[in-house]
């Protein structure tokens, strides 16, 4: 599959199809399984400075065309997560540590405490107080936090952006100013579901984030705009569940793609997407580089 290999966000990957953050990423075992199933690289569950149990259930609700979740960033803390990263590395692909914190110092603390092949800064989870999009919707925070982490690590740093803002491109520019090696778009869209029998919000946290096919058009638009403006590469995530979706994201300008909710259908999704992409490139006589951003170059 040489046709799919190449550089993505400062890493060299055998293919550009990755496991998204927070999906089957709590343990080294499940990350390694994703790697063995064919992922080009794997992103861990977001880890922070102290253990968190997450929100009370229900933590997920299946809705039309997608999934609502409010996991609440459960994680065992970075202090004991290294063994899981090391186990995940046995999968033979780079392991990206997704991390979160409440500001530049905590982000830097978590990043300095882990040995990973790359960091992805979660500045976009929409349902955890003091974290994620609560700070990541402000460009100056994005810039400061990116800079703080960059100063403390010598591997690539990706910044995962929230779509719950009027102008995602300004967040991307802030990440770029802070020294990001790539931006990742998008995290979930803030959303809610209500039980009609009782009038109660279904999620334990009342609201959460929407993922899955329903958000793909939003993600495509964000990736298109970001890649048209930024110099750093864009990694596309949101609703990818087939090779056509991955191709569409790359046409919009993504250098790599991440798959989350579609893992509900099993680990076979990586093999399906990479095989489909490869056939497509051969049939079109194109390289990945030529495919990338082609939608923006059409007359």
């Amino acid at each position: 599959m040489a046709i799919l290999s190449g550089a993505v966000g400062g890493l060299v990957l055998r293919n550009p199809v990755m496991l998204a953050a927070g999906i089957l990423g709590t343990t080294g075992s499940s990350l390694r399984r994703a790697a063995r199933a064919g992922a080009g690289c794997v992103v861990t569950k977001s880890v922070g400075a102290t253990p968190r149990e997450g929100h009370p259930g229900p933590v997920v609700v299946q809705v039309e065309g997608g999934l609502l979740n409010a996991m609440g960033l459960p994680n065992p803390s970075y202090k004991i997560f290294q063994e899981d990263i090391d186990l995940a590395r046995q999968g033979g692909v780079p392991v990206v540590a997704s991390i979160f914190g409440d500001g530049p110092e905590e982000f830097a603390e978590v990043a300095s405490g882990l040995d990973a092949d790359c960091f992805e800064l979660n500045l976009s989870c929409p349902h955890a107080e003091r974290y994620g999009s609560e700070i990541g919707c402000e460009p100056s925070n994005v810039e400061d936090i990116t800079r703080a982490v960059k100063k403390n690590v010598d591997v690539p740093v990706w910044v995962k952006l929230t779509p719950n803002v009027a102008d995602i491109v300004s967040l991307g520019k802030a990440a770029q100013r802070g020294g990001a090696d790539a931006v990742v778009a998008i995290n979930t869209l803030k959303a809610m579901a209500i039980d009609v029998e009782t009038g109660r919000p279904i999620l334990g946290n009342r609201f959460g984030g929407l993922s899955g096919p329903a958000i793909k058009p939003v993600a495509i638009r964000c990736v298109f705009d970001l890649s048209a403006t930024l110099e750093v590469p864009v990694i596309g995530v949101g609703g990818i569940s087939s090779w056509e979706d991955a191709a569409e994201m790359i046409l919009a300008g993504a250098q790599g793609v991440q798959v989350g909710t579609a893992l509900a259908g099993g680990y076979g999704i990586f093999g399906e997407i990479t095989a489909g992409l490869e056939h497509y490139l051969v049939r079109k006589g194109l390289t990945l580089m030529e495919l990338r951003g082609a939608a923006g170059r059409t007359p």
Binding site: L24, T27, G28, S29, S30, G54, P56, M71, E197, T198
Partner: protein, 256 residues
């Protein structure tokens, strides 16, 4: 799916800490499958089917206590049936249960009898007053009861009761109970691991194979969708019997 609104039709007290809740609507589960039970305002927790329309619950903490506060006419939200369930194999089967783990096995045994299988049960409890579903198991076939304090049946753990039976003579053995008891039974049935199906307990949050909370080391088996029923030979290659992960992902080591 969204949680289905289910009205509690009746509540039966099986023992001082265990109650059965029967719902409307009823489901069509494979025995061993489970429901995510949303006790509104508290939490959503996994519970195996003990009837097509019911679950049998031990009161342990917040969610189960809140459920015990509900009665006929009250409602909960249900997602399911989820997971794989038991696979009925052969003509003669043995059910081995401990405590509230007897619940899914009662449904399995009844299904097996409908299919014409011969069913023997070995059920372990702490004491006589903890016994549940005695008459359901007696109706299916031979029943050996053990109690830790000897107040009923054989004195000792369920695994001690195995000595009264010939585990190797059954086509398939079905297990559900506390983890130390299950691992003990599996070890005592050395050589028959591929004939043992165990329903295991891991921290289930999403129940749909995305969040990673329930994964078993070292292969990353997703217990919520690839389980909760897992063959003993696979369990012996895993963390089972040594540790499990709590809600944050931190390991909790087995107490022995």
């Amino acid at each position: 799916m969204r949680p289905v609104n289910a009205v509690i039709r009746e509540v039966a007290e099986e023992n001082p800490t265990v109650r059965t809740f029967r719902f409307d609507p009823s489901f069509d589960p494979v025995p061993g499958q489970y429901l995510m039970v949303w006790v509104r305002g508290t939490d959503e927790v996994p519970m195996g089917f003990s009837y097509r329309d019911g679950i049998t619950v031990q009161s342990l903490g917040e969610a189960t206590e809140a459920l015990f506060g509900l009665g006929p006419g009250d409602s909960v939200g249900l997602r399911g049936p989820l997971g794989n369930g038991f696979d009925l194999v052969g003509d003669r089967i043995l059910l081995v249960g401990g405590g509230v783990g007897a619940a899914p096995l009662a449904l399995l045994g009844e299904r097996a009898r409908e299919d014409g299988l011969e069913v023997t049960s070995l059920m372990g409890f702490r004491c006589r007053s903890d016994l549940i579903f005695r008459s359901r198991f007696e109706k299916m076939g031979d029943l050996v009861i053990t109690t830790d304090d000897g107040s009923e049946g054989v004195c000792g753990r369920a695994s001690v009761g195995l000595e009264r039976l010939d585990p190797g003579s059954y086509d398939q053995i079905y297990l559900c109970g506390p983890e130390p008891m299950m691992i003990d039974v599996i070890r005592r049935c050395h050589g028959s691991e591929s004939k043992i199906q165990a329903s295991i307990n891991r921290y289930i949050k999403c129940g749909m194979g995305v969040c990673g909370s329930c994964c078993l080391d070292p292969e990353g088996i997703r217990v919520c969708v690839e389980g909760p029923v897992i063959r003993a030979d696979r369990l012996l290659e895993s963390e089972f019997g040594r540790y499990k992960r709590g809600p944050s992902g931190l390991k909790e080591y087995c107490g022995r």
